[in-house]
Amino acid sequence: MPQTLYDKIWQAHDVGQRIDGNSLLYIDLQLLHEVTSPQAFEGLQLASRPLWRVDANLATPDHNVPTDGRELGLSGITDEVALTQVLTLDDNCKKFGVEQFDIQDVRQGIVHVVGPEQGATLPGMTIVCGDSHTSTHGAFAALAQGVGTSEVEHVMATQCLVQNKAKNFAVDISGKLAPHVTAKDLVLAIIGRLGTAGATGHTIEYRGQAIRDLSMEGRMTLCNMSIEAGARAGLVAVDDTTIDYCKGRPFAPKGEVWDKAVAYWRTLVSDDDAVFDSVMRIDAADIAPQVSWGTSPEMVCGIDDRVPDPEAMQDAIQAESAGHALKYMDLQPGQRIIDIKVDRVFIGSCTNARIEDLRAAAAAIQGGHIADNVKEALVVPGSGLVKAQAEKEGLADIFTQAGFLWRAAGCSMCLGMNPDQLGEGEHCASTSNRNFEGRQGYRGRTHLVSPAMAAAAAVAGHFVDVRETN
């Protein structure tokens, strides 16, 4: 029977199906960070259970680490509660023998940037992490899912997840993206059409010419936000782009084993006649740079659009949600997106903090300087290695000369667990993934955009169409 890519990875990890229909799914890699692992490690210790496979775990602190004063190491963390959490990760990794890139390691960074960068993420793997953006790793044709802390502990203790197989959803993107329209715009447009629960219960496979044309960085951005459409996992099939990216990375296989691995990875594509439970088709050429206007990632439109009118919406619940959102965002129906002023700019997060993102953002500055009304523009690389690379390429200088703050790696203002937060009522052009109420700071107002759109907004002081300014 023809299989989808998801079917193939599932089958290769299915330990066995129970009478009740659930399967035990074997997990190849668990990524750990400081926020969702302490309770799991504690549970393991309380029950005197060992870690099933030490080498299947990799840890780094990312969520609450400060992005300045990194040279101070642990003493740079002034928030005592946050420090305790980082120290707890250090202790647990030592106690259980888990490899960790600690706060002073150049390889430290956002787990979803670090895994691929190190080659710890490989095609065909099953990956979990106590973080919903684990879907990022699907870019490598790896079945990667976010899990709660109880499941983190379950995988620590058993190397398995108990799971029901999800349905298959094909998102088929034909054609070519217009210049300056990126994977971020593409995924926001997809979420805008699917809705925030549109792919609940499904694994998405992104297919079509526009996906094949994306770099690995672009594919990671795309898969990263699958959860924003309700899907626990998103996938892109293996091709030369995937294999070229993995080659030579520290954790990737070498020599004969590499050849054997590549031969297997080449099979990680959906069969031609595979059947999907749902299909959505979009022509890439129709997509404009996107800007979110509301408090859910589905509340998004093109840069040349206007803020929608809730009263014109057919669905009563949708209209009510939009009404709430506009009040929270302090926006008026019919207002032009380009007229929205920005107070802060954040370039970073597991969605958009890779080298390609920083290159695109730096290019969009075009010799300009952040506008007077922009209080702060932060650039937070996804890892210490991305930071070093950007400095080597001169990108850091471009940012700092333009008035941006150049920081050390971490999740930073994507969720504002560290000191990088929005002030009350501030509008932020953000390359992150969630525009939920208060996500980036108490009563802060987030607009999700691509790195180029964020940088261009920083210079203009309001949203602009990068197709026209570049």
Partner: protein
């Protein structure tokens, strides 16, 4: 894990769709290394008018008197009625820990986000999916005196007049009824996992670094 068999309780209506886990428990409280201590911060930005930090008690806070869970008639509610896609966004299990500690043992909604739904079953909180129209009706009836009887064994929710059936995966039902521990259950299959692992290692040796 706590078992769940029956629940007789008052309902509180949360009349919003797509309630995300950032709303259920905001990020500043995720710095804890414990599973407890989150109840005071449930729906923090909606329940309070000031910005909270970890360690603050509700007595020190400015209460939002208009928010539904602060209305006097809903004090002591143990069943939360919600709209579509409840629990979307972040995978933080802290959201379920907060709901439970606040006093909710069941959430009834037309649909839930996947990760949140799974997290409920790890903590003895029962998420029940009922038709949107039925939920609408229950929300309309929730006046602070309105109670529901949930019986997991018969998979029913009743309000004294009407009885609504709900579906639940048999495995999840058994687990909740008996309060079974997932890890204990899986470790009963330790031999099966080891056999699989050996085969897996032989076919994809590059996945094993040790």
């Amino acid at each position: 894990m706590d078992s769940f068999t029956q629940l007789e309780g008052m309902t509180a209506p949360l009349d919003r769709a797509n309630v995300d886990t950032d709303q259920i428990i905001p990020k500043q409280y995720l710095k804890s290394i414990k599973r407890t201590g989150f109840g005071d911060y449930l729906f923090d930005a909606w329940r309070f008018l000031d910005q909270g930090t970890m360690g603050m008690t509700p007595n020190e806070r400015q209460i939002n008197r208009e928010f539904v869970l602060n209305l006097p008639q809903y004090q002591g509610a143990s069943i939360l009625l919600a709209r579509d896609n409840f629990g979307c966004g972040s995978s933080r299990e802290h959201a379920v820990w907060a709901l439970k500690e606040f006093g909710f043992r069941a959430v009834i909604a037309p649909s839930f986000a996947d990760i949140f739904f799974g997290n409920c079953f790890k903590n003895g909180v029962l998420p029940i999916v009922l038709d949107a129209k039925v939920v609408e009706g229950l929300i309309a009836k929730s006046d602070g005196k309105f109670t529901l009887h949930i019986d997991l064994k018969s998979q029913t929710v009743s309000d004294g007049e009407c009885v609504y059936d709900f579906t639940i995966a048999p495995a999840l039902k058994q687990k909740m009824l008996n309060g079974m521990d997932d890890i204990d259950m899986t470790l009963e299959e330790v031999d099966l996992i080891k056999i699989f692992e050996a085969k897996h290692k032989a076919s994809q040796p590059w996945l094993f670094r040790g």
